[in-house]
């Protein structure tokens, strides 16, 4: 259940890119508030600005205009070093392409991030257990299926014990069955660990599982709906 205090707050945020001779507006005057513990799905077609929105919230990109406050950090004013600290302690990323380090085993991929934060509460072994891959902890990414790789990526994001999890198309590379399993896992972790989840996807079928659905088009929020009765991911199909 979400608490009332906003953990993420965006006011009039714009982000423009220079691509060759053209200027592209990825975010156009976006304002948004997210309260702690929410499980949000951000929907939008390709090029709508979903990933940019995540990157701005996660401190990977800085906005061209507007203010972004995440967990009390006004991140558009943070210097590079402060942004690193911010990401280290506030944000867990889950990517579409998993982005595991190929030369590290499953457990080591998780421990790598754990070494960074030295969080005593969550242990790599526990996290790998939490995603159901304890028996495959010594396998390298190339020895794991796509779904398994994504579960390791989720455990890696989780082990930092950060309040916010940003997921960029987490099921985009997975088959239907595996996608459902991952969504169930994310939902379970949201409830179990009380993390705020922002999941970006172009797949509208996923919307019913979220507490809240934000729709993006051409860099603007076109819709922001609360879902009082989110359904179990098991019941989703596409």
């Amino acid at each position: 259940m979400a608490s009332d205090s906003p953990i993420i707050s965006l006011k009039n945020v714009s982000k423009e890119y220079q691509v060759g001779d053209f200027e592209v507006t990825a975010l156009d005057d976006v304002s948004l508030e997210v309260t702690s513990g929410e499980f949000i799905i951000i929907l939008g077609p390709s090029g709508s600005g979903k990933t940019t929105l995540l990157n701005v919230i996660g401190g990977l990109d800085s906005p061209t205009d507007g203010t972004v406050v995440v967990n009390g950090n006004e991140i558009q004013n943070l210097k590079d070093k402060e942004l690193t600290e911010f990401r280290r302690h506030n944000i867990g990323f889950i990517f579409q392409f998993f982005n595991l380090l190929p030369t590290l085993s499953a457990e080591e991929n998780i421990a790598l991030v754990d070494e960074l934060t030295s969080d005593e509460e969550l242990k790599p072994q526990d996290m790998i257990d939490a995603v159901g891959l304890l028996e495959r902890k010594d396998h390298f990414p190339s020895q794991l299926s796509g779904g398994e790789q994504q579960r390791i990526a989720i455990a890696r994001a989780l082990v930092k014990n950060t309040p916010i999890m940003l997921c960029d198309e987490p099921t985009g590379e997975l088959d239907f069955e595996t996608g459902i399993k991952i969504l169930k896992l994310l939902r379970r972790l949201n409830k179990e660990y009380k993390k705020t989840f922002l999941i970006v996807t172009h797949n509208a079928a996923l919307a019913p599982i979220a507490d809240r659905v934000i729709k993006l088009r051409s860099g603007k929020i076109t819709d922001d709906e609360r879902n009082e009765n989110p359904i179990d991911p098991e019941n989703v199909s596409w």
Binding site: T84, R87, F93, N99, L100, T103, L104, G146
Partner: protein
């Protein structure tokens, strides 16, 4: 071990062939530095200790008729410590009936070592009487003389036979030179002998004896102050009695050894630096490409909160690892080679003391150089890794992926009409300009590695070719004890096998110009001589006329001279040279480009005119001969038996002598060529492997689409060979520059090396590089052929 350190280890293992290649390159660079620089220090120490052990004098003064008064003045001069005198005289000698040689005879005590320049016995012992002699080692070795053998010496033609009591090495004659200008005194024609002082006095009779005053000074450690002392001492000697003087630094053998050692020290630094620089470049390419491949991984790390510093440290660790492992190998290599090089060198030059110390500072510097090279070459890639924008790298945005038309298609329209394999290969070059640029640089530097050292061998080869084919064209140079008579010229002409001859003169001369003095040799030759070639600095032929006064190019820089400067030349021959004393002024008409020595050349007629103007009789003491090949030895033997012939110098013997002096140089440079070739292979292997393997996914896709391995290999080969061919001219140019750099140290007033790389070398190196580049890509191609397509396509790791 932290997880990131595990990542380093596993990635090094993943790229083990490339990593091993750069580790070997670092090991060779460091090993070469340690071996050559430690050898240099050991050689320097061996010289210095030889000087200490055998009490090498600090100053020599050659004076006619030293009297007690002058000796006392020398002893009383401030800073003079110990003084000793001796007689020195150049006479004639014979070992067999058919060869006369110049015998430098040095007077020594009968039964005890002299105070200065003590002798090291390789055979026999110190026990001289009126009938025995000690023979310097170069001569003894050349004629295979042993204790109990005999030599004949004479001042006036009446030879006396002396029994050899010992063969010796002297610190004064470690390099067998008669004087500074005769850099190449063949032991066939010049030897040093030690007679009891009284016996020398008796043998010389009325000959013009030179007393040599040798002394030590408290200023010995300060070269400039010793030189100042020499000048003060010279001012004490009446001009008419003064012959010559030098300090320890300018003593002919020591100066030549120092020049040789300085050249060696420059090479000892130049090659390792060159090799380490290029290795650094190789590491830089490897790291740059690795970081480019891992940009998504870096994005993930940064997204998860890894700082710039931790990412930079992570990638610098690769450099540190390579530096540590490579320099450890280098240290072992250095340890093994340093003593061998020192011992070979001192053995070759017969230096009596060989010091083979280990200098920890050399090892420390070697390791630091490796660390510096590795860290410096890793620093920029690591910094670029630290500065990667995580959002860009995760988005997989590349600045080059704007989708514009390739330049090659815009500027070379026919590309689109080419067969597809060729088209893809050419477009690949344009598509990733950075990768193409790195490949070109890799090939260029590979060529530098080989050419820099091979070029030195060519330059030395050119040195002797020019010397004996273009400049000194005679086969035999016959020097007479006295003025040559017309009968002797007729007899020479009549010798079977003599094709042509020229008459000339060779004499010592002292030059005075711009308040500087320089002792050299004056050579008078017929106008338009065909026994000697004259070339200016640009190798243009210079006409030799009665207005010509040519000086060796080395003097131009040594004395700061220009064409038109007026020289004062003084002939003041001593001992066995023709007795003449005359001074005259003349303007320099040009400088001649000659590889050895800095001689003065005038025409024979002009010289005779000068003598006539000074009321002196005509002089000629040298005949240059061109002879039939098969009669050469016979003519030499017959001339050697003529009483009036002082020496017969065979240009072939001189050439062999140069080659024997160059043995160590060739061996050293040969090792450099070998090291350079191994490193060039390592560099090319890395360049090609990186270029191919970073496109594994792309090639996997092509194969999935149905392209055969053969077609893919063809595309890669065309691409790599095109880049190699583009790189070759630049590599040749850069290699030439590197050879010039390597030779700078060797040029002096005595040696002029012209950097010439033969066309055949350019061709061989180019072909070898093309073949090596081709072979270097094969392992990576094989690896592409073995790609697990399913896995590569499934693989979604960073």
């Amino acid at each position: 071990m932290s997880i990131l350190q595990k990542k380093v280890v596993r990635e090094l293992l993943t790229h083990k062939a490339q990593v091993l290649a750069v580790i070997v390159m670092i090991a060779l660079g460091v090993g070469m530095y340690i071996a050559s620089y430690d050898s240099y220090l050991n050689l320097r120490a061996s010289y210095d200790q030889t000087h200490v052990t055998y009490n090498f004098a600090d100053v020599w003064l050659q004076v006619r008729n030293v009297d007690q008064d002058l000796l006392q003045k020398v002893k009383d001069e401030p800073d003079v410590e110990t003084v000793e005198t001796r007689l020195v005289l150049d006479l004639y000698g014979k070992v067999t009936d058919t060869s006369t040689f110049v015998a430098r005879i040095v007077g020594v005590p009968e039964n005890s070592q002299p105070n200065f320049n003590k002798l090291f016995f390789t055979q026999g012992e110190y026990n001289l009487d009126a009938d025995s002699v000690l023979v310097e080692n170069h001569f003894a070795n050349y004629y295979d003389l042993h204790v109990g053998d005999s030599v004949r010496l004479t001042a006036d033609g009446n030879y006396k036979t002396y029994k050899i009591a010992g063969t010796v090495i002297s610190p004064e004659y470690i390099w067998n030179v008669r004087n500074k200008q005769e850099v190449l005194s063949s032991p066939e024609n010049f030897g040093v002998f030690y007679l009891a002082q009284d016996e020398l006095q008796r043998l010389a009779g009325a000959a013009n004896l030179v007393d040599e005053i040798m002394l030590s000074t408290s200023l010995a450690d300060h070269k400039d102050q010793v030189e100042a002392l020499r000048q003060r001492l010279v001012s004490l000697i009446p001009t008419e009695n003064y012959v010559d003087s030098y300090t320890k630094a300018t003593q002919p053998a020591n100066e030549l050894l120092s020049l040789d050692l300085d050249g060696f020290s420059e090479l000892a630094f130049f090659f390792p630096m060159l090799f380490l620089t290029i290795t650094g470049f190789t590491i830089s390419i490897m790291m740059t490409r690795m970081i480019s491949q891992q940009s998504r991984q870096i994005g993930v790390l940064k997204a998860n909160g890894f700082s710039k510093g931790s990412i930079m440290r992570h990638y610098l660790t690769y450099g540190i690892f390579i530096a540590i492992v490579g320099s450890a190998g280098g240290v072992v290599l250095g340890l093994l080679l340093a003593n061998t090089i020192t011992t070979l060198y001192t053995g070759m030059l017969s230096i009596p003391v060989t010091i083979t110390n280990i200098h920890p500072s050399t090892y420390v510097v070697g390791v630091l150089l490796a660390i510096f090279a590795c860290l410096f070459s890793t620093f920029l890639p690591a910094r670029s890794a630290a500065n990667i924008n995580p959002a860009d790298s995760l988005r997989n945005a590349s600045k080059s992926s704007r989708g514009s038309r390739l330049a090659i298609d815009r500027f070379v329209p026919f590309v689109k009409h080419l067969p597809s394999t060729l088209k893809i290969a050419i477009r690949n070059i344009d598509r990733n300009k950075k990768r193409s640029f790195f490949t070109i640089l890799g090939v260029m530097f590979s060529m530098v590695l080989v050419l820099a050292s091979w070029g030195m061998i060519d330059a030395v080869q050119n040195f002797t070719d020019r010397m004996f084919n273009d400049i000194y064209k005679e086969d035999l140079t016959v020097t007479f004890k006295q003025n040559i008579t017309e009968a002797e010229v007729s007899d020479l002409k009549a010798l079977e096998g003599v094709n042509s001859l020229e008459r000339g003169l060779i004499m010592p001369v002292n030059l005075e110009v711009k308040d500087q003095a320089y002792s050299t040799i004056l050579i008078a030759l017929p106008q338009d001589t065909y026994m000697h070639g004259f070339f200016d600095a640009n190798n243009n032929v210079l006409p030799f006329t009665n207005d010509s006064l040519y000086l060796g190019q080395g003097l131009k820089t040594e004395l700061g001279l220009s064409v038109g400067d007026t020289l004062k030349m003084s002939l003041a021959s001593e001992g066995i040279d023709l007795p003449v004393a005359v001074s005259f002024d003349s303007k320099i008409s040009n400088f001649v480009n000659e590889p050895i020595g800095s001689m003065v050349y005038v025409t024979y007629d002009r010289f005779q005119n000068i003598l006539k103007e000074n009321n002196l009789p005509e002089l000629e003491n040298t005949i240059y001969l061109k002879v039939d090949k098969d009669k050469r030895a016979d003519i030499r033997a017959r001339l050697g038996s003529w009483d009036d012939v002082l020496q017969v110098q065979d240009s072939k013997v001189l050439q062999d002598l140069i080659n024997s002096y160059m043995t160590f140089f060739f061996a050293f440079v040969g090792v450099m060529v070998g090291f350079g070739a191994i490193m060039a292979f390592g560099l090319l292997f890395n360049t090609m492997t990186v270029s191919i393997l970073e496109r594994s996914r792309e090639f996997a896709t092509l194969r999935t689409l149905g392209f055969s391995n053969g077609v893919i290999n063809m595309i890669l080969t065309i691409e790599n060979m095109l880049l190699t061919i583009v790189a070759i001219p630049f590599g040749l140019w850069l290699g030439h520059l590197a050879t010039v750099g390597a030779f700078t140290a060797y040029n002096s007033d005595l040696f002029q090396f012209e950097v010439v790389i033969f066309p055949r070398t350019y061709i061989i190196v180019s072909v070898v590089i093309i073949v090596t580049a081709f072979v270097s890509q094969l392992p990576a191609m094989r690896s592409i052929a073995r790609i697990d397509l399913a896995r590569m396509i499934k693989d979604r790791t960073s």
